[in-house]
């Protein structure tokens, strides 16, 4: 295994008494990558995160986190984790909670005094610092949990469903925090069901099913791949067959209706040329719409409609 990856697993497997939670997981996540971990319910996403963080012992296989074998407490000093159900000691108030976890990270008094108020402010809870967590809403708990995961300026952050309890403002906050982390070179391991979120924030995603990677996608590829385009034009002044023939230079599957052209371009970078050519042909152009495949559609294609359990 190469030490250059932040997260690296090889044939990682976890069996419980009656079922296999993770079958055979191979992952490589690079430094500074925002990595999306997708799959239907019961695909083994949370179990995989738990193994990486030393909460659950793998049945077989190996994994390294920040170059150290998983389970090594020292490497965890550079890791942040927002658990899925964000249950915390609810008899503590917000500031006490962050101070406790800062102590557990081994942060010095001076660092705590600077870091705790700054993070409370960052997640918009500075006014609730003295309120008991028992009185926090689901969204507030998720925000304080996120702050807790960032106390130690981690090299890698695991976020398990970080936006599930959040309103749109909270989601934007999480998205912004992830962008800041990316800018600082922090690796983000994001487990989320909200595919539109993942699409906006992640550099790369893997789809897992029954505890094994079934597909890896670099999100730029979605934009670079073959794209169906729909072009609305005025009533064609030139012969449809000639038009279809001319369109062949830009893509395949060209079809011309009375006021609409359908075409699949190999690369979206060809679109400006296509527009210039169409106008050159004397056509009136009303609308050009690339039919991008959303991550959601890809998810359904890859994972299948039967989904999870």
């Amino acid at each position: 295994m190469s030490p250059s990856y932040t997260i690296e697993t090889s044939h990682l497997r976890k069996e419980y008494s009656r079922k296999v939670a993770v079958a055979d997981l191979d992952l490589q996540v690079g430094q500074g990558e925002v990595f999306g971990f997708l799959g239907p319910n019961g695909a083994g996403k949370t179990t995989s995160i738990k193994m990486l963080l030393g909460l659950a012992k793998p049945t077989s296989g190996e994994a390294r986190l920040l170059g150290q074998p998983i389970g090594d407490p020292q490497s965890r000093s550079r890791v942040g984790f927002l658990p899925e159900h964000f249950r915390f000691h609810d008899w503590l108030n917000g500031a006490e909670f962050l101070n406790l976890h800062a102590r557990l990270y081994g942060l010095a008094e001076s660092a705590r005094q600077q870091r705790v108020p700054a993070l409370l402010k960052r997640v918009g809870l500075e006014e609730h610092a003295n309120k008991k967590l028992r009185g926090y809403s689901k969204g507030m708990l998720q925000r304080i949990g996120l702050a807790q995961a960032l106390l130690n300026r981690p090299a890698v952050v695991f976020l398990d469903e970080p936006t599930s309890g959040l309103d749109p403002i909270g989601r934007i906050l999480v998205r912004d925090v992830i962008r800041e982390l990316r800018a600082e070179g922090t690796t983000v391991f994001l487990n989320s069901h909200l595919l539109s979120e993942v699409e906006i924030t992640c550099d790369r995603v893997v789809f897992i099913k029954q505890g094994a990677v079934i597909k890896t996608i670099t999100l730029k590829e979605i934009e670079q791949g073959a794209t169906p385009v729909q072009i609305r034009i005025g009533a064609a002044k030139i012969d449809r067959a000639t038009l279809a023939l001319g369109l062949g230079q830009f893509g395949t599957e060209a079809r011309v209706d009375s006021d609409c052209i359908h075409l699949t371009v190999a690369d979206q970078q060809k679109l400006p040329d296509l527009v210039r050519w169409l106008i050159g042909q004397g056509l009136d152009l009303y609308e050009l719409k690339p039919q991008r495949v959303s991550l959601e559609e890809m998810f359904l294609q890859i994972v299948g409609m039967d989904g999870g359990l």
């Binding site: 407490p73 658990p83 159900h85 406790l100 976890h101």
Partner: protein, 288 residues
Amino acid sequence: MNPIAIILRLTLREAARRKVLWGLLILGLLFLLLYLLGLSLIASEVRQSPNEMRALQRIGGVNALYNSFAMMALYAANFLMVMIAVLIPIDTLAGEINSGTIQAVAVKPLRRREIVLGKWLGFAVLLGACSSFLIGGVLLITLLVTGYLPPNPSSGLILMFLEALVFLSVSLLGGTRLSTLANGVMGFGLFGMAFIGAFIEQIGGVMQQFGNTGGETAAAIGKIVAVLMPSEVLWRRAVADMAEGTINPVKMMTLGSSTPDQGVVWYALIYAAILLSLAILSFQRRDL
């Protein structure tokens, strides 16, 4: 700050925040108040009646009466300590594992054994304060009201505190694997087992004195039970150290045929240490 110290502090803070401390304080005060009331009534009665004083000479003097009364109060205090020691730590691991609260803690750069040790020490401090308050309170009230103090008070206090530590270790070990309810059943079940075991041993001892062969087996069964759960021998050793007088109900009930020797202290310490080690091992091995 050392991770163990952080968890210890957290444990004490939780007890304070969740009003466990207040509950214990009020319970303890009520208990001590009742004892104070009863003892004061008896003491004033005894001082006013010379006839009864003479009658008391036959059982070992007025101090024997006070001792009997103090031992009964300590018997109750000891039982309260067992309940507190089983119940207070009962949910600390099982509950946090169940709710997932433990996850955010366990992924921090600390070892699992530090979590268990920190909790054990935190509860040990709490139980130390409890036993000082309850047992120390009984002894102090006895001294103030009657001017009499049972012998070996510190040895009694240490033995009863040790008994609480044994149950604390049982409760923590159970909490690594069992549900809260099952853990409670186990803790009190072991207490009951030791209680009955002690009786079997004593009855066996008496039977042996009368030359009954079945007595030997009964005494052996009692001894095996004491090895499995040494709580009752600790209490009986405390009675041996502190009880006085020829007609002393607690003494008669607990020390019929045999007296546990001082070795029980060492055995209980080793027993608690083994259980704590098992708790650490069990917690280290499980998925959270």
